[in-house]
């Protein structure tokens, strides 16, 4: 199956086409996605132009034949968490339902560049989660065993092997946070996050989806318990199907439909250093020290941490975040002390009580949610798009997301990711 046919009017990307464009400077590339007037009605309206919303639109149009689909974003596409995360992919979760779900996502990512004809630069360079005490080492073993039973490549390795993978790590025994072992997950890695957004946008556009940037939803029309449309700063839209895929702003959108959410919005900060020559191939995570580190192909180190300690919609970032991250990185890799932090930023995360997403229908008919993504939404973009497209098209969530329904919070059947995902990048 290929997306070629969808690219009417689009120019395919390849080394050859690039050469052609390079030799004939005047033949510009066409727009990756087009601008449209806002139509008065759509078959489905997806709120949130991040990877979740765009992927849902892409699969909805490509696999379910729904053509009149609009994706609305109040700013530019990828302006939320999709463009602010640290672009780490992995599937080494704790619960079988989590592992299955994220494994599907990693598989989709593995072929995403070819599927979208857009290089998203997925680099499966391996992912290490360090354990500094026996309880976290026990959790690493637990995750490993569950992963293996689901066919996911994970293992627990010791300090010597860790040192071979990441020579810069201080694996000596007398540090404040000695490295006792690590969960090693070879399929994990990093991806170019913006490229995923743009690739899906381009693909969705090619299948006829309308992408509306600078289009803010100001209200959701509900009549007799079902959705009839949305209000925007560019005018009303009538639609029978609305998807809330707005991550940190999930509560505000659901409130418009009168649906309560077990969600709290927390800033999540990240930072990047000046580039240095590549020395770090794997992704390194320490839950105890609340830090994760990877090095981009540009040579920058990208740092992330756990969410800020209190709920907020402010994305200003904090000095204490950079202090903490630097201190913890140097605990792990003391040789980096001369590296310079270049930039810090924040995104907003929609945290749920069980560190698992909320996907599927709500008490308002036609109003669906794909929220509660906390700090792990980007990893799940493709599989969420696939599953939510199926949900929107059929009205019923597929098996792979059946554990993630909103009703689990009234039934008291929470998902058990809380233990593993507190800093689960």
């Amino acid at each position: 199956m290929s997306s070629n046919n969808g690219h009417g009017g689009h120019s395919r990307y390849s080394a050859w086409s690039l050469v052609r464009h390079g030799l004939t400077p005047k033949s510009g590339w066409p727009r990756a996605w087009r601008e449209h007037d806002l139509e008065s009605s759509y078959d489905a309206v997806i709120i949130g132009g991040g990877v979740h919303g765009l992927a849902t639109a892409y699969y909805l149009a490509r696999d379910h034949g729904m053509r009149k689909v609009a994706v609305l974003d109040k700013a530019y596409i990828g302006s939320g968490g999709s463009g602010r995360n640290t672009a780490i992919l992995r599937s080494n979760y704790l619960t079988p339902e989590g592992v299955r779900f994220y494994d599907r996502s990693v598989k989709l990512y593995e072929h995403l560049a070819a599927d979208l004809n857009y290089n998203v630069m997925f680099s499966q360079r391996g992912h290490l989660t360090l354990a500094h005490n026996d309880s976290s080492l026990r959790t690493m073993h637990w995750r490993t065993e569950v992963n293996k039973l689901q066919g996911v490549d994970s293992s627990v390795i010791g300090p010597d092997e860790i040192k071979k993978l990441v020579p810069y790590l201080d694996t000596s025994a007398d540090t404040r946070y000695p490295i006792l072992g690590a969960l090693y997950h070879p399929p994990g890695g990093i991806v170019r996050h913006d490229a995923v957004v743009w690739g899906y946008a381009r693909g969705a556009d090619a299948h006829g989806v309308h992408i509306h940037q600078q289009t803010e939803v100001t209200g959701i029309d509900v009549s007799h318990g079902r959705v009839t449309g949305v209000q925007t700063n560019r005018g009303p839209i009538s639609t029978p199907v609305v998807l809330n895929a707005t991550a940190g702003w999930a509560t505000l959108i659901s409130d418009m439909a009168g649906v309560s959410m077990p969600v709290q919005t927390f800033p999540l900060q990240a930072a990047v250093t000046e580039p240095v020559r590549p020395f770090l191939d794997t992704v390194v995570v320490s839950g105890t020290l609340h830090v994760y580190v990877s090095q981009t192909d540009r040579g920058e180190l990208v740092f992330g941490a756990s969410v800020d300690p209190f709920a907020s919609y402010s994305m200003r970032g904090s000095l204490e975040f950079t202090e903490g991250i630097a201190g913890h990185v140097l605990e792990l890799m003391p040789a980096l002390h001369r590296m310079k932090l270049l930039r810090q930023w924040a995104g907003l995360c929609d945290m749920t009580p069980d560190y698992s997403p909320i996907m599927g229908p709500t008490p308002v008919e036609g109003f669906y949610v794909d929220v509660g993504w906390g700090t792990y939404g980007f990893k799940a973009g493709p599989v969420s798009g696939e599953a939510m497209a199926a949900t929107l098209a059929s009205g019923k969530p597929p098996e792979i997301i059946s554990a993630f329904g909103l009703d689990r919070f009234t039934d008291g059947r929470l998902v058990g990711e809380k233990g593993a995902a507190a800093v689960g990048h």
Binding site: Y13, S14, A15, S17, L18, V19, G22, W29, A32, A75, I77, G78, S79, G83, P96, E110, A113, A114, N117, Y118, N119, M121, F122, S123, Q124, H132, S135, R138, H141, W142, T144, E145, L149, P167, R176, Y177, W198, Q213, E274, P275, V276, R277, F279, D297, R298, G317, S318, L319, T322, E323, A326, G327, H337, R338, M339, K340, L341, Q344, K418, G419
Partner: protein, 942 residues
């Protein structure tokens, strides 16, 4: 290996480009200091930056560019200079036009791969045509398996400094400060504002990025230098001003929390100052903006301020024959400087009269300039003075959104959007004479002091506005917008045409402004190009978000000194002396064992052992309402706990999940001592206070944490009574001091000890809590007096085995974040008939639903196999039915034993289930009672 063509003539040869003494020069000509550049010897004067010393020696090409390997020279001759990033020893990305030369410095150029041995030109040619915007997104897509190989090559192309695994030590530090007024920027405005604020009684911190105060006055004329001298003298005389040079404000955060990277301290690589400023005065001056045209990155193309710095501060002649494109008086002054420095000024293109450069020609360096009037002028130096960028970062971080002023061709702060505790002064606000700038800043300084609470009348701040300036961003002939990232003007217009048509999308797609100069040189030009390409105005297009940090800061400085608290029991010195293997348990350092945990277990089962359990959480509870509190916190009943009695209890959270456990004893009428798990001590205390303060403020209960007020020692084993009896005045007889009782008395001559008779290990045991200062004394007495009994110290590992043999669960090991009370097997403890306790409804529903997993004992049929903890239990279809939560070889039983959480269908005693071991083998284990040793509990009750 020398990549860079230089005109250097050897270390001892005359320095060709050095001028005679200049009035404002910052170099000390009395001596020279040696350093090396790409392995070759050089000398500098003290005060020289690396770049000025090299430029004085005739070096023209300093680096190769990021993407296309184009030769690059000096552009700004200051901290930002994108052409002067060097490797200095093991330090990467050193700002060569800012860092002063130090004796013995080993400086090398960066971005030198592939080396000259490879054909760099070929790369360049390919680059110019094909490495354009979006290159990577459009290529290497198929075949998929090849991408990792491409990526490896790409990573080898990263051109930056290098770090080493073993760099030298460096000292970094933190400090807090609380200035009434913090002035960011030590130019004339910053100095004047600082002086005015200090004279108004404010404590002032004045932060300047350069090595000296003065801003642009430093490279000014005689009048400027006179003004500078006067201001510097006044600042030096004002005791209320702390001056930090070579220091930079890195960010302004909530409530005027300001970060400062201080670099001027001897012996300190970098220090982070965290300042809570009363008022922040932002006075960074202006940054000169490069002009975008074909060839604008050739060595020899410089900004007017660069030329003026080189001539006036470092006495370096920037070239031989110059063309100057000037749109402002500062550019005109550069012409005068050049002429004075003996540079032949071949042409001055007055941009106010629409004259300008359209192209620069040359290979490896500027050779000729092409003007918009069609002239071609031979020159090795092209100076542009085409406008200014206001570095508004700190104002943006304060919530301001600068507005674009088309008549002045720059963004300026919007005073209406600035918070009360932030003010701006100097050229970032507007242009005027030095006198007027100082007058404005003086008023700002007084107002800053007033707003910081230093009194005084409200201040009228004189108006200050940018003067008119032509809008000059690009000649429209191409060229580079971002020299750090090698982003060209064409890249920007291409990105817009492809649909990346907002400034944020352009930034992400092309990486413009994302390099080490952080957009300070590039942002406005990029915005202008996006505006032109989209047909919008610059104001409509807006600018990208200026995020912290304002200037790069080392990880070392951000980290500061490590502050990772560790806690020790009073007996830790003894443990250290006796070969204990340390175990890091949260903040505590504890003995894991003293060599042989199995032997320690056997000693406890057969004789007597002692363990240091000081980290066990302890709360002193006093007041008439303690029973109410206990009834609320624990799932079991507490109303009838008699004096001298101890009871075990479990706490669940409101979601019914097991949170903590421990014993509480009643020491007096209204006096109780509660114990918690070690890791839960702090959490439980705060949780108890939460219930008292927010839900039941009327209850009379005082809670005091006394975890380390006592050193806690558990004396366990059949001979524990005999040992303790030798040291205490408390009657230990079974009748006088029965199981689950508490007594108070003296031990080893220490009064006010609390003795609990409890049994975590399953043996007769006493847990004694000794006033902590005497902990070591009592421990040593126990060891000495018990020598004949074979008293054995045991560690955490032996205790884990002992409790596992006894079937006691450990919260957060045998339970997890979703384990509710009935899963943990405390059915008998949970009293659903109580009116209330934390978590009651959820536990009621858990029991009603009766679907929960169970915590059970397990024994492998092959008792020699110890399944690792976290091994998964499989159901008949291969699905996960549970996991082993605890597992050990039992020295007492001589076989492996464990605890497991398992689905209720498989939880019945006697059921056999399959366990998948980490090595892939499957073994069979049998479900047993959780208690493996002495299920009747006879041993602990003797």
């Amino acid at each position: 290996m020398s990549l860079l063509p230089t005109t250097r003539r050897g270390a001892d040869a005359p320095v060709s480009m050095r001028l005679g003494p200049q009035p404002g020069e910052v170099i000390d000509r009395r001596r020279t200091i040696p350093f090396t550049w790409n392995g070759e010897d050089h000398r500098a004067f003290p005060g020289d930056t690396i770049a000025s010393a090299l430029a004085a020696a005739g070096v023209r090409v300093f680096s190769r560019s990021y993407k296309y390997h184009r030769p690059r020279g000096l552009l700004t001759a200051d901290y930002l200079d994108p052409g002067a990033f060097f490797q200095v020893g093991d330090e990467p990305n050193v700002r060569g036009a800012h860092r002063l030369v130090e004796p013995g410095m080993e400086v090398s150029s960066q971005n030198t791969w592939p080396s000259l041995k490879y054909d760099v030109k070929a790369v360049n040619q390919l680059a110019g045509r094909f490495l354009a915007t979006g290159f990577y997104y459009k290529t290497f897509i198929k075949p998929e398996p090849l991408w990792p190989l491409y990526e490896k090559v790409l990573r080898r192309f990263v051109h930056a400094g290098a770090i080493t695994p073993d760099p030298g030590e460096a000292f970094y530090d933190h400090r807090h400060a609380h200035p009434d007024v913090l002035v960011a920027g030590g130019g004339p405005a910053g100095m004047a504002a600082a002086l005015a604020a200090a004279r108004a009684g404010a404590s002032v911190m004045l932060v300047e990025e350069n090595h000296q105060l003065g801003g642009h006055l430093r490279w000014g004329d005689a009048a400027d230098l006179a003004a500078l001298g006067e201001l510097r003298a006044q600042v030096a005389a004002e005791t209320g001003i702390e001056v930090l040079t070579d220091s930079v404000v890195t960010g302004r955060y909530d409530d005027n929390w300001v970060g400062i990277a201080q670099r001027n301290l001897p012996g300190v690589a970098e220090r982070l100052i965290k300042a809570r400023a009363g008022t922040l005065v932002v006075a960074p001056g202006l940054i000169e903006r490069p002009y975008v045209f074909a060839g604008n990155d050739l060595p020899g193309v410089m900004l007017s301020t660069a030329v003026r710095r080189l001539v006036n501060l470092y006495a370096v002649r920037p070239g031989q024959r110059a063309v100057v494109m000037s749109a402002n008086p500062e550019g005109d002054l550069a012409v005068a400087d050049l002429e004075r420095a003996g540079v032949e000024v071949a042409a001055v293109l007055d941009a106010r009269e629409r004259r300008g450069v359209v192209r620069a020609h040359g290979r490896g360096g500027l050779r000729a300039v092409e003007t918009n009037e069609g002239r071609r002028i031979e020159a090795d130096l092209l100076v542009t003075a085409t406008g200014w960028t206001a570095p508004t970062s700190l104002l943006n971080q304060s919530g301001d959104r600068p507005v674009y002023e088309p008549t002045a061709a720059r963004f300026r702060p919007d005073p209406a959007r600035m918070p009360d505790n932030v003010l701006a002064a100097g050229e970032i606000v507007g242009d005027a004479t030095v006198e007027a700038i100082v007058e404005h800043a003086d008023a700002v300084g007084r107002e800053a002091a007033r707003r910081a609470g230093r009194g005084g009348p409200a201040v009228t701040i004189p108006s200050l506005a940018p003067r008119p300036h032509p809008e000059l961003f690009t000649a429209g002939t191409g060229g580079f917008v971002d020299l750090c990232e090698d982003v060209s003007a064409k890249d920007i217009t291409t990105a817009v045409a492809e649909g990346y048509d907002s400034v944020e999308l352009v930034k992400r797609y092309t990486t413009v402004t994302m390099g080490p100069t952080q957009g300070k040189l590039e942002t406005v030009n990029a915005v202008a190009l996006v505006a032109a390409a989209t047909g919008k105005s610059i104001a409509e297009t807006g600018t990208t978000t200026w995020r912290p940090v304002y200037a790069p800061v080392t990880l070392g400085a951000l980290a500061g000194r490590p502050h990772e608290p560790v806690r020790h029991s009073p007996m830790q010195p003894w443990h250290d002396r006796h070969g204990a293997t340390p175990l890091v348990a949260g903040q505590w350092i504890r003995p894991e064992h003293y060599g042989d945990p199995a032997a320690e277990v056997r000693a406890v089962r057969t004789g007597v052992g002692i363990i240091d359990v000081t980290p066990i959480g302890k709360l002193d509870l006093r007041g008439p309402d303690v029973p109410k509190l206990l009834n609320l916190l624990y799932v079991n009943k507490w109303s009838k706990l008699g004096l001298g009695r101890v009871r075990y209890g479990v706490m669940c959270a409101e979601d019914g999940v097991v949170m903590d456990d421990g014993v509480t004893g009643r020491l007096g009428e209204d006096h109780y001592l509660m114990s918690t798990t070690s890791s839960g001590a702090a959490t439980v205390w705060e949780w108890v206070e939460n219930w008292l303060q927010t839900a039941h403020p009327d209850w009379q209960v005082h809670v005091t944490p006394v975890t380390t007020a006592y050193a806690s020692i558990n004396i366990a084993g059949p001979r524990s009574r005999e040992l303790l009896g030798r040291l205490t005045d408390v009657d230990l007889s079974a009748d006088a001091f029965g199981y689950m009782n508490v007594r108070q008395g003296s031990v080893a001559g220490v009064d006010d000890c609390v003795l609990w008779r409890i049994g975590f290990t399953g043996e007769l045991s006493y847990e004694i809590h000794v006033p902590a200062s005497y902990g070591l004394h009592v421990w040593e007495q126990l060891m000495a007096r018990g020598a004949d009994l074979g008293v054995t110290p045991f560690g955490v590992e032996a205790q884990r085995i002992l409790r596992l043999e006894k079937g006691h669960f450990i919260v957060a090991q045998d339970t997890d974040g979703l384990t509710q009370g009935y899963t943990a097997g405390i059915d008998g403890l949970i009293k659903l008939d109580k009116d209330d306790f934390v978590g009651l409804p959820e536990l009621r529903w858990q029991r009603e639903r009766d679907e929960h997993a169970h915590l059970v004992g397990v024994r492998p049929l092959d008792g020699s196999i110890v399944p690792p903890e976290a091994s998964q239990i499989l159901d008949s279809s291969g699905g996960i039915a549970g996991r082993i939560t605890s597992s050990r070889m039992s020295p007492t039983l001589g076989r492996s034993i464990g605890l497991a959480q398992i689905d209720r269908e498989l939880a019945a005693v006697g059921t056999r289930v399959t366990v998948r071991l980490p090595d892939g083998r499957d073994i069979t284990v049998e479900i047993t009672d959780a208690v493996h040793v002495d299920p009747e509990g006879e041993r602990q009750r003797v």
